[in-house]
Amino acid sequence: MTELQVQQTDESSPNAEELSSWLEKVIAWGHADSLHTWKDISLHSSRLKDFLQQLLIQINNVSSTAETMKRLPLLGQFLGRLCWNPHVTAEGESRGLLFQCLWALYSEHPSNAVEREANQWIRKVLCQLATEEEDGAALALMKHLGVPSKEYHLKVLKKMVTIMQENIGNNQCSRTQGCSCGSIRAASEACVPLITCPEASPLIGALLQQPVTCFRDGLSENFLDALHSAYSRRVLPLEELAVVSLWYHSLPSLEEAVLRLLESATAAGSTPNKIEEQVTNSLLPKACAQHCSIFLVANDIFRTVLKQAERNECVKHVFQTFTKCFLRELSHLQPQTSASLKAFFPQSPPSLLLPLLTMPSEMPQEALKDHLVWVSSLIQQLAEEEEEEEEDSRNIRGHHKVFEAWLLLVQCGHWVQVAAQLLVTSGPEDCAPLLWLLTFYHHPTNRWHHRASQLVQAKAAWDHLCSLFSVAGHPRPADRLQSFISLLSAKPRQPPLAPPLALNLMVNFAVFGQLPLSTSTEMIQKVVDQSGLWDESTRVLGSLRLRLNDRGCVANDRVRLRIEELRNTMTQM
């Protein structure tokens, strides 16, 4: 804003008319002291600050105070009245700007009567502000008991905060007697200038955490906006509970928080470990577990982002981590029941909820494959149904159910990882549903009915891998590896198979297969070198490691060792 001013000409700096209309407003504020006035003041607060900033620049640019007073004769009145408006003087930024304007008007070496008078007036105003006591009783007591002013006023402030905090929840609104509340709204409106005042923070916290009992007595919009602005500028430290309440009340705050998380988690160099840390530290999973509405909004944001970026592995991974952390927080809060799950996932196909939201660690190892086969068949069914509908009724509603199923699958991406792992040990009879699931995960939309050919490619990739990583079969056929690598690149006249799919499979084969580590490592190195998929492979290894470190996951030392070795090799490449 400051830069803009410099480039503008003198005509756009505040003129006498603008000042006059602001003065009218300030006079009106001084006359009435109602909720309506407070709201008006809060609404104009940032514009006032901008105006003061402009005035300050102008005063500094003009050579002398006498000149300024000639151009803006009402300036003294304006600033003087603002000094006695507690909304302006209680808030740090506006108070600072106001005082700066006063100092800018002070002349070090007054050369005429106007400047001398201005100096005198400024000193007088400042002296009054700091030392005058309105309350005669308070002054009498302070004098006779020898109590310093600062101590007295600080005590009174703290006591007011305590009293209000205690009484906030007490105004009950009963339907029979009519609503006489409005105290919460009034209190939040009065607290707008006090948001960055540390002594008032218990009150702010209490207001935020007050459960909404009456729709007519909610927190004021100005309050929420001011909180959101202060919090995002990081000038306001809030406790965990208060932050969650802020998100609950203020949609812009919540949206900003989710987008900020997405931004930082998908930044370059984010390892799965770091991502999980960032997600947990953001407090969002906790907030989502406490308030269903917060989860729904966050989910919606992810949904929108993913609709436009199906292939974005980064975002998918963040979403999956987010859901995992959320489910963890939820399990801390309440015993999981299917009823509550529906509330959190209203758009997902109900038949898929329980199967996908169960964690693999909650099932015996032997049951995993059957479970996945079942999940795969459920989704296949949904997909077929939707395709039939589309052909029949020319339904342009889109693949809504299938999309939601895919979204849920992405959120529960650990199942996809388990599928990949199981494919290492599957035979050709039972690999089909697992491959279908994997292909679906990477290619959710069956545009131009390409899924059939993609499935073929996936099977081919799996075949290659099976033979490449089988213990028997020396020497390794070089062309096998080459054909596998060629699968990873785009081909003419054929819809490409998402490279992460094949790569994911390969990493799983390397980790869980029986081949000696050195041979596996060599092959992976060659593949990554030629296909250039270093990022993806490190991510897969990272997630694998994370998943196996999670509680309840059974993994033996051999596997862990192989992963570590592979990671070391990757980092040295």
Binding site: D33, P86, H87, T89, A90, G92, E93, R95, F99, W103, Y106, E108, R123, L126, C127, L129, A130, T131, D135, G136, A137, A138, A140, L141, K143, H144, L145, G146, V147, P148, S149, K150, Y152, H153, L154, K155, V156, L157, K159, M160, V161, I163, M164, N167, N170, S183, A186, A187, A190, C191, P193, L194, C197, P198, E199, A200, A230, V235, L236, P237
Partner: protein
Amino acid sequence: MLNVCLPPSGKTCECGQRHMEAVLRNVASTVELLAVAAHSDVVSEWDEQTAGRAFHWARYCEHIYSRFHSNHVIRGVLEKQLQLTSRGLKEALPEYGAVTLWDLGRCQNLLLLRLLGNPALPVSLLKMLFETRRSAGVTDGDYDDVRGLCGRLVQYKSACKLLRHLPGPPALGADAEVQGEMLMERLESALSRSGDARRAEDLLSSVLQELDGAAPGLCPVIAAALLTTAGSAAQIAAQDFLLDWLQSRHGVLQRVCSGLPSRLLADLAKRHRKFRDAYCRLLKKWASEMEYGISDGEWVHAAADPSVSFQKMTHHFLTLFEACPSLRTETEDELRALKVSDGGFDVRGLSVWGDLLFALSP
């Protein structure tokens, strides 16, 4: 620094003497400093460090005051020193305003007032005093930095103004509560140190006299003082002292009971037996002063100031009974006896006691 050893008898020992001399010298110097701050041009050469040192000495005086104000021996010594210094300063600066012992307790404010009123104060110091703090995470508490001192003062006062205007619970309000607490603290220390009640008596009289002139007067403060939680023996003794004082000052008691809402008075009665008895007696006294106006058909309080209506008095009784149910039967018996003494008729307007009984019946 303030390691003055003082046995209760008030006699000082050797090191005590020397410490005392040092304290007196420092206080005298600070008083001189205050004079300089108010009247001298030297102030134009002050920088942030000088100002910081000046306020440091002012804080020192505040500390001395809070440590010794209730010790009447040291108090006397301090007062004598102040008089001495004042005389000297008056000769040098005719416009000098004397500093009393009470002023020492608010020394920083005094210094601030004088500095801000001195036209020679450089504007750089003004700016420093009124600076607005940047970080929002730091609470003030014992933050004694001179930088931003006035800014903080203005912030607290403005914040209080904002919150004061909110409709709150029908209680005394934060101001009265804090004032009451401070009064009790001072009373407590006055009683515990000196042992004799005169000091405390003087304190109460002078404070409350001052409060009397200013709105909203002394009623809220006295009520708040009596409602503070008294845990220790000293606190209980202080409240007791205040109650006795209140009982002895009949005019004040009347004002308190007519100026405050019934609920508050009932709470006080519930807390303090002495108050309950005095309150009851007063209510009955008011009833006895009532006269029946035939034209209006109402009982009217004959006394002029403060006057209370029949309805109000009845309301007082009813609220009192709610808080102290045991009082009801006792009072009703008394009233009945008084009604009998008036003839025992059941006609309205003949006996205030009879009408009162009727109004109080559930």
